[in-house]
Symmetry: C2
Subunit: 118 residues, 2 copies
C-alpha cells in the first residue's frame, strides 16, 4: 500500500513539480517582472521600457522581451516606417499571470513580515 497526500503518491507529486518549474521559469531572472509591470501600464517602445527600468542593459532587455514573446505573454508590433518603430504590449494571456503574481506577492509579504519579526 502506497502512502498518499491529498490522494497523490510521492512520485505523482514529483511529476507535478515540472509545471511548477515551468511557471517559475516564465517569471525568472532579474528583469522579467519589472518588464511585465511596465507593460501593465500600457503599450511601450523599447527605449521607453529601458528608461523605466533603471540599470537594465539593452542586451538583457532585448533577450527578456524575446523570452516573454516566445511564451506569448507579450506582443511585438513593428511599424514599417523609417526608422522602424516597435511597440510592446501585454497579451490577454500575459494578464492571466496577474493572479499568479498576486499569490506570490501575498505569501512573500507575509514571509517578509515574519522574517523581520525575528
Amino acid at each position: 500500500m502506497e502512502e498518499t497526500v491529498d490522494g497523490l503518491t510521492q512520485s505523482e507529486c514529483m511529476r507535478d513539480m515540472i509545471p511548477v518549474r515551468d511557471a517559475m521559469d516564465v517569471l525568472n531572472g532579474k528583469w522579467k517582472l519589472p518588464i511585465i509591470v511596465a507593460l501593465r501600464f500600457g503599450t511601450k517602445r523599447f527605449r521607453e521600457i529601458s528608461r523605466e527600468i533603471p540599470k537594465i542593459s539593452d542586451r538583457m532587455l532585448s533577450k527578456e522581451l524575446k523570452d516573454l514573446e516566445m511564451n506569448e505573454l507579450i506582443h511585438r508590433k513593428v511599424y514599417d516606417s523609417f526608422p522602424v518603430v516597435v511597440e510592446y504590449s501585454l497579451t490577454e494571456y500575459g494578464k492571466t499571470l496577474n493572479a499568479v503574481i498576486e499569490t506570490l506577492r501575498d505569501w512573500g509579504q507575509a514571509h517578509r513580515k515574519r522574517m523581520l519579526e525575528r
Copy 2:
C-alpha cells in the same frame, strides 16, 4: 494625474515585486521543490531524502536544507545519540507554501498545454 492599475501607481507595483521575488527565492534553484515534496510525505533523515531525489549531491542537499531551515520552512532535529541522528520535517509554516505551489502548478499546467498545442 498619475496613471494607475487596480488603484496602484507603477512605482507601487514595482515595489510589490520585492515580495514576489522573496517568494520565488524561497522556492528557487533546482532542488528545493523536490525536497519539500519529499518532506510532505513525512519526517526523514538526510540519507533518506538523498535516496529519494535522484542525482542530488550531498553538497546541494546540505546547502538547500540549510536555506529551507533559515526560512523556517523545515525543522531540523538532532538526537544526541552516537552516531548522531538528524531528522528533517516540514513545519506548519512550510505547509502554507502548498497554496502557492498549487497556484504555480495550475498556471504551469495550462501553460504547458498551450505551448504544446503550437
